[in-house]
């Protein structure tokens, strides 16, 4: 992969914080402006944002998981396969227990198990990560196609009920946008600060980041490099599987072959776009979810459906291109893609 491992000239902490605050405030200002404009044009912004955030949930989950995997030095290109398997197995589990939570759990477990297979090949057997991930992708999609046939197209009637937070969800626009979701969305959003905190402020996170930057340093310091990597890859798989289950159990209510439509690949792109930071993952998945929701608005204007369908994929590409134009070096974990051994 064409990622550069160089260090950027870091200005002092205060300047950086100031820049971040400025960026945040200006982003907020732009958002407020956009919302005001849309409202005045008669768009129901509240439900638009609601849809956007819901759409972004599976992507957010998968990206968060892949961030952890890549932070530990492993690129798992098989996300699409794990998501697909999570969608199929999640649906099967949900039907079997007539309970969506069981479906979600089943999706997580299937994703984690697939990730375990991948991890064994890539960590213990030191296999090349890129083609192994491609194999996982094909296997996951094929596997889900085979097992999912039993539930293909069947509507799941016991899906999650929306859980609007009382009082807060009644606030115009913001209320619907932030406080009116099925539980899994809240879960995904809550994971963002938690995973950020763990990665950057705890010892486990320090261990993970060290393993991804310089596994020899971690090994020498007594950190079990293999164990860390297995853990992170499986977390990635579990979250990808959970995201897949969200597709079928929570969002659509049924399972169809190929329903993940490449969103797993978008997660890979978003992992880079997020600069391997859970906060960035939130931003990226919101962007994608927003564009995806937006294409439906544009359909209303009479633009061709399928051309609009290209939009999310193109926007992902363009977003990455813009990022690369501004940042000369992205700061990928330095040991990414390299298997570790003590010899």
């Amino acid at each position: 992969m064409g990622l550069h491992k160089e260090y950027s000239m870091k200005s002092s902490k205060r300047v950086r914080l100031g820049k971040k605050a400025l960026g945040f405030i200006s982003g907020l200002a732009v958002a407020i402006f956009l919302i005001a404009y849309l409202e005045l044009s008669g768009v129901d912004t509240g439900s638009f944002l609601n849809r956007a955030i819901m759409f972004s949930t599976p992507l957010l989950l998968a990206t968060l998981g892949e961030i952890y995997a890549e932070r530990s030095g492993v690129v798992n290109l098989g996300i699409e396969g794990m998501m697909s398997a999570g969608a199929a197995i999640g649906m099967i589990g949900a039907f079997a227990a007539e309970n969506p939570w069981v479906g979600a759990l089943a999706g997580m477990v299937s994703g984690a198990l697939l990730a375990l297979l991948f991890a064994a090949v890539v960590i213990h057997l030191r296999g090349m990560q890129v083609p192994a991930g491609l194999g996982l992708f094909m296997f996951g999609l094929g596997f889900s196609g085979v097992v999912g046939k039993a539930v293909s197209g069947k509507k799941f009637l016991f899906s999650f009920a929306k859980l609007p937070i009382p009082v807060l969800s009644d606030i115009p626009i913001v209320g619907k946008a932030l406080f009116d979701y099925v539980p899994m969305v809240y879960l995904a959003l809550a994971l963002v600060p938690i995973m950020w905190f763990v990665l950057f402020k705890t010892r486990i996170g320090l261990n993970i980041r060290t393993v991804g930057e310089n596994p020899a340093a971690a090994d020498s310091a007594g950190v079990d490099v293999f164990r860390m990597r297995y853990l992170c890859v499986m977390v990635g798989g579990a979250l990808a599987g959970l995201g897949g289950a969200f597709f079928s159990v929570a969002w659509m209510g049924y399972w169809l072959e190929g329903m993940t439509a490449g969103w797993g690949w978008v997660a890979i792109a978003l992992t880079i776009f997020s600069l391997w930071n859970p906060l960035g993952a939130l931003l990226g998945s919101l962007l994608f979810g927003g564009v995806y929701a937006f294409q439906f608005e544009l359909q209303g204007l009479g633009l061709p459906v399928h051309i609009l369908g290209m939009l999310p994929y193109l926007v992902t590409l363009v977003a990455l291109i813009c990022l690369l134009l501004f940042y000369r070096r992205l700061g990928a974990p330095s040991a990414l893609l390299e298997p570790y051994s003590r010899e």
Partner: protein, 360 residues
């Protein structure tokens, strides 16, 4: 505690490589068998239908050969790309672009030239379309260091959406479904009697395989590609031009994928429709993805890929039979292929290490 130990080999050997390929296939099939058992199918019955559907009779062999054609073309192209460690995952999209361009020319470009020239033009245009589509990614990679995997993949979906748009919109046939009107009959490729083997494309494929083999082993550029793929830093010191190489391998692999797309349109479907790239319901069955396994199983050598293409085409044909006879979704084929690839990657370590059992 009983332990499995690995010891580094002193020398590597080509027989070991062959053994690993065989072992990976066996392991993949075994794992597949387990999954089938869990689903309530009899693996032995499944595999016998799979292999007879691919190789068991003359019609089966014909079908396999038909499927070999696109796999061969794309596989050879991917050998180029993978030898340079350029991860071109965009073959499905490049193939679709070739098909779209050929379909467009066939349906809408009325030219007063002999049919063979018209067909040749379509092949060239399709190849250029596929190559161009791939070179976009090469340039994004060269100028912006945009990851090849991501750019090629996103463009796959863009190409697919483009196809659907055309089929549902301006190019929709009189029938009103997601396919165009049939192409004029003079633009059909000739086929071997009684089969759907469109042999001109096959000839192109075989020629491509042979030239690729000679190219990679015996020419300066082939040497440069191998050096670059194995150690890009050493290549830089040796004065090898990175951007030129990446663009070259992408153009070749994209072009060959485009040619495969043209072949499918002109040789098999005689129209533009969904599934022209080999995919059914799930996009993963596209020849473009399957060819990745072909290239890898062929040990990234052009001639090896030719053999692998035939073998995997057999699995695809057999998979179709499985669907019609036992009702097993065609997706099983992708699952098996994915397992084969994983097995190959995992097994590669055996080329560097010997397996020893050690007690105590």
């Amino acid at each position: 505690m009983f332990g499995l130990k690995m010891e580094k080999r002193a020398v590597s050997s080509p027989w070991v490589e062959l053994g690993i390929s065989g072992l990976s296939i066996v392991i993949a099939l075994t794992a597949g068998a387990l999954l089938l058992l869990l689903q309530g199918f009899n693996p032995l019955r499944v595999y016998s239908i799979l292999f007879s559907g691919g190789f068991g009779s003359l019609p089966a062999l014909a079908e396999t050969l038909t499927k070999t054609i696109p796999l061969l073309l794309i596989g050879v192209g991917l050998v180029f790309a993978f030898s340079a460690k350029v991860w071109n995952i965009g073959a499905p999209g490049q193939m679709l672009m070739g098909a779209i361009v050929a379909g467009g020319i066939g349906l809408f470009l009325k030219l007063d030239i002999p049919a063979s020239a018209h067909i040749a033009l379509m092949f060239i245009a399709g190849g250029v379309a596929g190559a161009g589509f791939a070179v976009i990614c090469a340039l994004l990679n060269a100028k912006l260091r945009l990851d090849m995997v991501i750019s090629t993949l996103m463009l796959n979906f863009v190409a697919l959406k483009l196809l659907i748009y055309l089929l549902d919109g301006p190019w929709q046939g009189a029938a009103g479904f997601l396919f165009t009107d049939p192409l004029p009959p003079q633009l059909y490729l000739p086929m071997l009697a009684g089969t759907s083997i469109h042999y001109p494309t096959l000839i192109i494929g075989i020629a491509a395989a042979i030239s690729a083999h000679i190219f990679m082993r015996r020419t300066k550029l082939g040497y440069e590609i191998r050096v670059f793929g194995e150690n890009p830093k050493a290549a830089e010191y040796a004065g090898i031009h990175k951007v030129k190489l990446i663009t070259l391998v992408m153009a070749v692999s994209g072009g060959l994928a485009g040619l495969a797309g043209v072949g499918e349109v002109l040789g098999i479907h005689h129209m533009l429709k969904l599934g022209v790239d080999g995919s059914g319901l799930a996009y993963v069955s596209s020849y473009g993805y399957t060819a990745i396994i072909v290239a890898w199983l062929g040990k990234r050598s052009a001639l090896g890929s030719a053999l692998a293409a035939f073998f995997i085409a057999g699995i695809l044909s057999g998979g179709q039979d499985l669907q019609t006879i036992l009702g097993i979704p065609y997706a099983l084929v992708s699952a098996i292929l994915g397992l084969i690839l994983i097995g190959l990657i995992g097994g590669a370590i055996l080329a560097r290490y010997k397996l020893l059992f050690r007690g105590g």
